[in-house]
């Protein structure tokens, strides 16, 4: 009998060990090595376009000030998992990303891994940014470096157990981060593909315009169908053809330019900040985004509220 018990204990220990090893192995934060990046001459004009397409300033600009190029962070982002405090991504070498290498920046954007090898929380939308091209990412990094350094480290996130165990995000990533770059649809026009890239990659529209599951990931099949706001105040509208069927491509592009919808309402909430960014894009890029959005198949929103 004693032998039986000790055998069971050994077996259990073995299973736990194996499980831990598997967990450890599966949750290793991935990185992009510097060797994966070939020679590149940064294009700052394109970097700026990516900055506005990506809406970096919406979260990272110091709150309550007009200058949106001061990326000192500090905004509190509420969520069902706790409060995230947006980090400083200014060019300051100590408190910002001034001393990051290009590979470290690319790693954060497409793998969601910090330079110290920690998983970043997906409140930072690398699920979308992973679709961006390496050239665009490197141009964006070059542009960010031209923006003013802001001193001051931002406090840690206020995320309670168990979500504060970053290693578990490795499992989240296995489930929800597919690691695929944007793949053009050859049956569609170049303009449509440009729009699809901007909307799904840097623009990360889907991150707010979709409902999320209990793990905080977007409900597949409900992409772009709108959803409750993560901070619990209000929500975002459905931007599939379910809701926008009466909008023309021009209506969508105009809304991204002026903030005024075709029924002469003005967008509110966080969308005001989005329009502040999209209004800085080239008209061609806005039209491309509108062209793509106009083709999003109608999906019933999960929120039944009108």
């Amino acid at each position: 009998m004693d032998l039986m018990v000790s055998r069971l204990i050994v077996a259990a220990a073995f299973v736990v060990l194996l499980g831990s090893a598997a967990f450890w192995f599966l949750t290793i934060p991935e990185t992009v090595p510097a060797s994966a990046l070939g020679p590149h001459a940064p294009n700052l004009t394109n970097g700026k376009e990516m900055f506005y397409a990506g809406g970096c300033a919406s979260c990272h600009a110091v709150p309550k000030q007009e200058d949106k190029t001061r990326l000192g962070g500090g905004l509190a982002l509420g969520s069902p998992f706790g409060t995230f405090y947006v980090p400083n991504i200014s060019s300051d070498p100590k408190d910002g990303i001034g001393d990051w290498s290009e590979a470290q920046f690319v790693t954060a954007m497409v793998k969601g891994t910090s330079p110290t090898g920690e998983h970043l929380f997906p409140a930072f939308p690398y699920t979308s940014y992973q679709r961006m091209s390496l050239d665009d990412l490197r141009d964006l990094f070059a542009y960010l470096k031209t923006l003013p350094p802001i001193m001051g480290k931002i406090r840690d996130h206020d995320v309670p157990f168990p979500f504060n165990i970053r290693r578990t995000l490795g499992i989240w990533k296995l489930l929800f981060l597919d690691g695929k770059p944007f793949k053009p649809d050859t049956t569609q026009s170049a303009q449509w593909n440009r729009g699809a890239y901007l909307v799904n990659g840097p623009g990360h529209c889907v991150e707010c315009h979709s409902p999320r599951n209990v793990l905080g990931a977007i409900k597949s099949g409900k992409r772009f169908a709108g959803g409750p706001s993560p901070d619990g105040q209000g929500g975002t509208p459905n931007i599939t053809q379910q809701k926008l069927k009466d909008w023309s491509v021009k209506d969508i592009a105009d809304t991204l330019t002026t903030g005024m919808t075709p029924d002469a309402d003005f967008v509110g909430g966080a969308m005001v900040e989005v329009v502040r960014n999209t209004s800085q894009l080239t008209p061609a890029d806005r039209e491309a985004m509108a062209t793509y959005i106009k083709t999003l198949p109608a999906v019933e929103g999960s929120a039944s509220k009108k």
Binding site: G259, D265, F266
Partner: protein, 147 residues
């Protein structure tokens, strides 16, 4: 004379009814004002976009609508009107009432200034985008859309 006083009586009654409505149902009253703001903005937008010819009578009326709404809105947010009637008013309004009211003062001033500055389509195109920032700026902070 008789008909004039009858009209006056009706007008007074209508005004009184509007005031009573505002008092009884501030949510409905402010929604109605915002709806007329939307219609006014829509009429201007059509001209700016080139979908309708420039019409000074329409722009004048539109800016008068904004000015009127700016004057009436601040009184329509009593403490008992935070919820109900499918309101999209954000709780932040009552946390920051001074700023909220100041924005309507600015809206009124800007509407008046825009009215005197707009002479033709070019001046409307020059004035309207800046004027419209009043709309978006306030919606950003003080309106919550449900979906």
């Amino acid at each position: 004379m008789k008909s004039a006083s009858a009209i006056a009586a009706v007008a007074v009654f209508a005004l009184g009814a509007a005031a009573v409505l505002a008092q009884e149902d501030p949510i409905a009253a402010r929604k109605a004002l915002m709806k007329s703001n939307g219609q006014a903005a829509g009429a201007i937008a059509k001209m700016v976009k080139g979908e309708a010819p420039f019409d000074p009578a329409v722009t004048k009326k539109a800016f008068a609508t904004f000015e009127d709404a700016a004057a009436k809105m601040p009184a329509l947010f009593p403490d008992n009107s935070k919820v109900g009637g499918e309101t999209t008013a954000a709780p932040k309004i009552w946390e920051d009432m001074a700023d909220f009211k100041a924005r309507f003062v600015k809206l009124g001033t800007d509407a008046k200034a825009a009215d005197t500055r707009v002479k033709d389509l070019d001046s409307l195109k020059a004035v309207f985008p800046d004027f419209a920032k009043n709309c978006g700026g306030c919606h950003e902070l003080y309106r919550i859309k449900k979906s």
